[in-house]
């Protein structure tokens, strides 16, 4: 606060904490400029400045302060930004480190944090019981969408979503190690040290900015003669110096997947004032570890009592961290309400720092060991077997009312400005449970602990229920040595880690679920702060028949907020169990799901954005086509030239020109994307006999044939022209999109069904660039460039293939046509594609030929009735449906699909068959996908007998043309059918599929 003598906030205690007073940081909160210290979190800096009110709850909009000093925080969620695009909602103030220029603002409130109209919900809360929304908002029927839901939606949500594209980038790394240690507290560090000194490769990660875990607040533990925290820093530094160790701070292990695969997220720049633009904001580590050591610690639970959610009420451990690490006193008069010994340590620390402790309200008969005596010796009043009945203070707790346990009445008011609470500790078994290990209820300590492992991992320290620091270090060192051993490390060595523990001797880590239950019925006793779930809500859910803990969770939303129930799940379970009259383990635990804490989408995505989202495949001719004005379309992963507009030309005009030019002169087309597979070996023909419906034995070397491939169920899978280069060598082409799956399909049969065949399959799609030259002038265009091949009609008829040279480079020259014109497809090695293309195009252009794209190709082939698999067929079309039964060999004993084809339904006469359609009005172009009916006057639902598969304006025919599949289509020639469109019904005539050059004379024309 301005005017205060001390740097970094009025509540900063001189000489306390580990931050450096000289290193101040300026940030803002709700527009107010504040000063904190380097290393502060938003929470510690705000408390240092006397600010406890940090947020509003989800449902009732109740004022809330920070509950914790860590990742489990349910209350203090803020919107944090560096600039308008680098903005983040729902940031936990207890985790976010401050930096110069950080802007934080409160969320889920209007108009301001201190005065929020949403708080009217709090007054109406008797109506808003658990699951109330399932019971109302049903009348009138349409009001849900129009009225209720929009209101509920506006009230729900927490912060605002980002509105601008994310300017930051993210990185990803894969890593392998012998030992991954999750958690850098006393246990994790000890295990990592033992493993590392034994020679194992180690990764150790911790979510906090520095290692230390509970040593951040627990000042009672000394290690090797220095404070625990100092030892932790030195140990981390020592580990980081070793070649076989990687130390990752600000790194959360968020997910434990199959076979010891663990996801970590490292926050790289969110704490920096001026991050380098080269640095990723966050980094995803995907670690495969031989052994995972889980040293994930434990999380303190709050006490459940009426009014337990006011700002200024927080976990005892949080108060201790704020004091011992950040040097911040959470208040001047701090009461304690506890069912756990560790809260006493916090009280004593606070008292030693000059904070008054007016009372310790102890829910139990007495605390462990000599704590009661020590407290009284210190002059602190301890009320055992007492409870807090209510609290006061609108925006910060101002008093508590204390009653004897089980008593009613108003109780004794005690003035406070903060209250610390502890109901015990919940071991963090999240990752263990994610690994599918089974947790087991330990009745004695009243907690779930890791039980049976499902993967190669070990749990140590507080998460495994090991409370005593000496035993903990022993366990950790053993785990580290064992992990190194298991990984085959042969070095020996046991690190020296001597513990001097000055804390209370008994049960300072006592857990149990005291204080979770038996809260009075009046007032709101919160279980889940963020989602405003009270003990009453849990009981109501059970009363309404929600007897599974999963039902309780879903009905009340307990544990479903952004903290995922880290402080609330066990309370919810205990209250449900008590209400049901069942022991806790019989009620069961909800499943732990990844991630442990929320993970940024961008981190998971990494570099897979924009062009790297899915790499674009470009042909060897791509640059040439681009230079010549191509517009490209996406076909699968490929970029294909779609059409080549000249200045001022529409797509329609360009395509019409291209189609006309090909038939009048010639055109060049990039066919490189077609899949190409070389099938080689003595049994190559036998193999193709099995994979295609056609017969291949009689195909002479140098000739080509159109082939159809089926799946076993008899439906068309792919098609393409196959050229026989030699008795034992075939050049197979596939559709553009089909290439990978056709090769996979072939390999499957070759390797597993027909392994006796001596055949090799090689994908050659990317080895050959393919230039189609089609049109009456095609031969004249290529003739001067061809070497060693006689390309006369006699020597090289339609559907033949030759090997030779073109432009001095090797070629596989196909005489074939997908346009109905005289045509060649020139295969040249990919690296020569561009130069061959340029040579051909220079000559072709001079002869008034054109470049044409996929759209003109589609029109030209449709004029000839050639099908495109995937457009005129889908996965439900047989060869006969497509009019291709001529391509199915009748005498072969076997081919893939032979059995499927014989099934009754595939032989029905009324199957949909491919036909041509001509609109009665020749200028009308049908829409592809339009449905066809026989009776245009039928009421909806109409009987659809087929659909339009291909439809174009044909410049060459001077009219529109279309192909369609129609039920019993081939017996409907000449019939009039109807295509009902939204605005009119179009009359069409059923025709055959060849619209142009029915005799096929132009192939040699």
């Amino acid at each position: 606060m301005s005017g205060n003598a001390y740097q970094g906030g009025a509540n900063r205690l001189p000489g306390k904490g580990r931050l450096t007073p000289a290193k101040t940081v300026r940030f803002s909160f709700d527009g107010r400029i504040l000063t904190g210290l380097e290393g502060d979190t938003l929470a510690s800096a705000l408390i240092a400045n006397g600010i406890h009110l940090m947020g509003r709850s989800f449902k009732y909009h109740r004022p809330r302060g920070v509950l914790s000093a860590g990742a489990e925080e349910p209350n203090a969620l803020m919107q944090v930004s560096r600039d308008s695009a680098r903005y983040q909602p729902n940031v936990r103030a207890s985790v976010q480190e401050i930096f110069d220029g950080l802007r934080a603002s409160s969320q889920n409130r209007y108009p301001s944090l201190a005065c929020d109209v949403g708080a009217v919900n709090d007054a109406l809360s008797p109506l808003f019981s658990a699951g109330f929304y399932y019971k109302t908002f049903m009348w009138p029927r349409t009001a849900w969408n129009k009225l209720y839901e929009p209101v509920i939606r506006r009230a729900a949500g927490l912060g605002e979503s980002p509105k601008e594209a994310d300017p930051d980038h993210y990185a990803q790394r894969y890593a392998h190690c012998d030992v991954l240690v999750v958690g850098g507290g006393l246990a994790g560090l000890s295990a990592a040290l033992a493993a590392a000194e034994s020679g194992a490769s180690v990764i150790i990660c911790d979510e906090q900015p520095e290692m230390g875990g509970a040593l951040h607040f627990d000042t009672s533990i000394a290690v090797n003669g220095e404070t625990g925290f100092d030892w932790a820093q030195k140990t981390a530094a020592r580990l980081a110096f070793m070649d076989n160790v990687r130390v990752l701070t600000r790194t959360t292990a968020f997910g434990y997947y199959a076979q010891n695969f663990v996801g970590l997220t490292e926050r790289v720049t969110d704490h920096l004032a001026l991050p380098s633009p080269d640095q990723p904001r966050e980094r995803l580590w995907q670690v495969r570890a031989k052994r995972v050591v889980l040293a994930t610690g434990a999380i303190e639970r709050h006490m459940v009592f009426p009014g337990n959610d006011r700002p200024g009420i927080m976990l005892a451990s949080a108060a201790r961290i704020f004091l011992n690490h950040y040097g911040v006193a959470i208040g001047a008069k701090v009461a304690v309400y506890t069912a756990c010994d560790s809260a006493y340590e916090a009280a004593f620390d606070l008292q030693d720092a000059g904070v008054r402790i007016p009372v310790i309200v102890e829910a139990r008969d007495r605390p462990g060991g000599t704590l009661l005596e020590e407290a009284r010796t210190r002059g602190i009043e301890v009320l055992t077997r007492h409870a807090i009945a209510s609290t006061k203070g609108r925006l910060r707790v101002s008093s508590i009312a204390v009653v004897p346990a089980g008593a009613s009445g108003k109780g004794r008011d005690i003035e406070v400005d903060a209250l610390i609470i502890s109901a015990g500790w919940t071991p963090s078994v999240h990752l263990f449970s994610q690994s599918r290990g089974k947790v087991a209820w330990d009745a004695e300590s009243g907690r779930f602990l890791p039980g049976v492992n499902a993967q190669d991992c070990v749990s140590i320290g507080a998460c495994a229920g090991t409370d005593d620091p000496v035993a903990l270090v022993e366990q950790a060192v053993e785990a580290g040595l064992d992990a190194a051993n298991g990984a085959g490390s042969e070095m020996s060595g046991r690190p020296v880690i001597d513990i001097d523990h000055e804390g209370s001797d008994a049960g300072s880590w006592s857990a149990g679920l005291v204080g979770a239950v038996g809260a009075p019925e009046s007032g709101k006793a919160f279980v889940d702060f963020q989602n405003d779930v009270t003990a009453k809500d849990i009981r109501l859910a059970v009363r309404e028949g929600m007897h599974s803990i999963e039902h309780v969770k879903r009905f009340t939303t307990n544990g479903m907020a952004t903290d995922q129930g880290k402080t609330s799940n066990m309370h919810g379970l205990a209250i449900a169990a008590e209400t049901l009259g069942k022991p806790i383990p019989q009620v069961g635990l909800t499943t732990f799901r990844a991630p442990y804490t929320p993970v940024t989408f961008g981190t998971i995505v990494g570099q897979s954005r924009g062009v790297l989202f899915d790499p674009a495949r470009k042909t060897p001719l791509h640059a040439c086509l681009e230079t010549n004005g191509a517009v490209f379309e996406d076909v699968g992963q490929w970029k294909r030239a779609w059409y080549f507009p000249r200045a001022g030309e529409t797509m329609h005009a360009a395509v019409s020109r291209e189609c006309r030019t090909v038939r009048e002169v010639a055109g060049l087309f990039d066919a490189s994307t077609l899949g190409k597979i070389e099938v080689v070996g003595p049994d190559a023909a036998a193999f193709l006999n099995l994979l295609y419906t056609n017969a291949w034995d009689k195909l002479e070397p140098g000739r080509c044939k159109y082939g159809i491939m089926l799946r076993e169920d008899g439906f068309i899978y792919d098609d393409g022209v196959v050229g026989r280069l030699a008795a034992d060598r075939f050049h197979v082409t596939t559709t553009t999109g089909g290439a990978p799956r056709v090769l996979h399909h072939m390999e499957d049969y070759l390797q597993t069904e027909f392994p006796h065949l001596d055949v090799w399959l090689t994908s050659i799609t990317e080895q050959w660039a393919v230039i189609a030259v089609q049109g009456p002038q095609a031969r004249d265009i290529i003739a001067p460039f061809v070497d060693g091949i006689d390309i006369s009609d006699d020597a090289m008829p339609h559907m033949s293939v030759r090997e030779g040279k073109i432009c001095g480079v090797p070629t596989r020259l196909f005489r074939m046509s997908f346009t109905g014109e005289r045509g060649f497809e020139i295969n040249v090695p990919a690296d020569y594609g561009q130069s061959v293309f340029e040579a051909l195009w220079e000559r072709a252009e001079a002869m008034d030929a054109c470049l044409y794209g996929t759209e003109a190709m589609h029109v030209l082939r449709a004029e000839k009735g050639y099908i495109i698999v995937g457009q005129d067929t889908d996965g439900t079309v047989t060869p006969d449906d497509a009019g291709l039964s001529w391509a199915v060999a009748k005498k072969k004993p076997d081919f893939v699909g032979i059995a499927g084809l014989k099934r009754a339904d595939l032989q029905r006469p009324d199957r949909k068959q491919l036909v041509g359609l001509k609109t009665k009005d020749p200028t009308l172009v049908l829409e592809e996908g339009a449905q066809i009916v026989a009776d245009p006057n039928e009421k909806i639902p109409m009987t659809m007998i087929g659909h339009v598969t291909s439809s174009y304006w044909s410049e060459n025919c001077g009219r529109s043309i279309a192909m369609a599949v129609v039920a019993g289509g081939r017996s409907r020639m000449g019939e009039t059918l109807y295509v009902p469109m939204p605005d009119r019904t179009i009359e069409v005539e059923v025709t055959d599929t060849v619209f142009f050059d029915k005799q096929g004379e132009r192939l040699n024309g």
């Binding site: 849900w144 109501l540 954005r609």
Partner: protein, 417 residues
């Protein structure tokens, strides 16, 4: 059954909500029932509800291994639409959509059916052809589905990136305005409450370990963790576990079970007004009433009953989401989970009698069963009650894999050429 209403809530608010009844009871199983339904998800509970309500059969048990609604009903991304291509599918899903529109009132339980519109993005020429084919077929079947140009798609869903420089630019979208989402748990609970009110026994935590058949081969009942329970008819409605259960009756199914993962983000204020799906970029997304972005995509590649899957599947899903909606890159994944989906060879469900008399099966919904819940339950109840299919589910037989008369929605979407 106590009627739910704002007045009932107000009355209860005065007395600490002490007067609410249990929504369903936990009865001891009888020795036998007229009908036993195996699986207490939305489809199973709904089947029991319609059997009791429309077919006068009250002596029914729904037997559940875990907790009711705990399978795919409680794990899906709740998308509802009916714009399927084939007449059979369109008929079934539109029957469901018609029931969705009144389901809250029918059950007196707010299932929060929200017709926010389902928009399916199209990214290439082939996509557009396929979408138009659906739109035309839907129109002639009386199902709403309309074409939006990219600008209109952006207006309907402002966070959408329609830049032409995107890796897969948006070329348009098919929009079904009646499509939307609903609250999945409420569907299971609403059916459970209404069915229980008519005397249906819902028996949770009771695994079925066998399906018994008499000397003539007919079904006689089921063995369970709580002993034998006799039944004249047994309906198996067990989603991912169907193969396991049908195997108990000696029937090998045309099914494979795959892990399907989904995730939600942290909750934020309203930013996403509809449902968006993209098959090419491959993800789907909506925003829940609570404010979470609800996101899903495809299955893992291998069969599994583990209810977990790989992180790389989540990665691909979020790649797609951030590609379509770059503003969401800084949002955070809050929770991810997995379910087990049973997939048929033609990606259409089986809602049918079986070769075993008295045994019926409702399965094969793949990744899209939630949307069909009321329609599926309604016609399946008809099938069980009459030992014959309803006109709407006549085509969804087991026999179709023998005859070849498939309902191949996936194949109809075809592939890029």
């Amino acid at each position: 059954m106590r009627k739910y209403s704002i007045f009932a809530i107000a009355r209860e608010a005065m007395r600490g909500h002490k007067g609410w009844d249990r929504q369903w009871s936990s009865p001891e199983p009888r020795s036998s029932y007229d009908v036993v339904i195996v699986g207490a998800g939305g489809h199973g509970l709904g089947t029991a509800y319609y059997l009791a309500k429309e077919h006068g059969i009250k002596n029914i048990a729904v037997i559940e291994k875990g907790w009711l609604g705990g399978g795919n009903t409680g794990r899906n991304t709740t998308i509802i639409r009916s714009n399927y291509l084939y007449d059979e599918s369109a008929g079934l899903y539109n029957h469901a959509l018609n029931l969705w529109e009144n389901l809250s009132q029918e059950l007196n339980y707010n299932v929060m059916y929200s017709a926010r519109g389902v928009m399916m993005l199209q990214h290439n020429v082939h996509d557009v052809q396929s979408a138009k084919r659906h739109i035309h077929a839907n129109r002639l079947n009386g199902i709403d589905n309309e074409w939006l140009e990219p600008d209109a798609a952006k207006a309907f869903c402002p966070p959408l990136n329609i830049s032409s420089s995107a890796r897969y630019p948006v070329m348009g979208a098919a929009l079904q305005r009646r499509g939307g989402v609903a609250r999945h748990d409420a569907v299971a609970w609403g059916y459970a409450r209404a069915a229980a009110d008519m005397g249906v026994h819902i028996i949770q935590n009771c695994e079925v370990t066998g399906i018994r058949r008499g000397a003539n081969g007919d079904v006689t009942g089921v063995d369970t963790a709580r002993g034998f329970i006799g039944a004249k008819k047994v309906g198996v409605v067990a989603a991912g576990h169907t193969s396991v259960l049908m195997d108990m009756a000696g029937i090998r199914m045309p099914l494979e079970s795959f892990p399907l993962q989904a995730l939600v983000s942290e909750p934020v204020k309203p930013i996403f007004p509809c449902v968006v799906m993209s098959n090419t970029v491959h993800a789907y997304i909506s925003q829940s009433d609570k404010g979470e972005l609800v996101i899903g995509a495809g299955t893992d590649q291998y069969t599994s009953y583990s209810q977990t899957g790989g992180l790389h599947i989540i990665q691909h899903t979020l790649d797609a989401i951030c590609e379509m909606f770059p503003i969401f890159s800084r949002m955070k994944m809050l929770r991810s989970w997995g379910g087990i989906v049973d997939v048929t060879p033609d990606r259409s469900p089986i809602l049918a009698k079986t070769p075993v008399k008295g045994l019926y099966v409702n399965c094969g919904w793949g990744t899209g069963g939630f949307k069909a819940t009321p329609g599926s339950a309604h016609v399946f109840a008809h099938t069980i009650a009459n030992d014959a299919p309803h006109k709407i589910n006549e085509g969804f037989t087991l026999e179709r894999f023998r005859t070849g008369r498939l309902i191949d929605e996936a194949a109809a979407a075809a592939v890029a050429h």
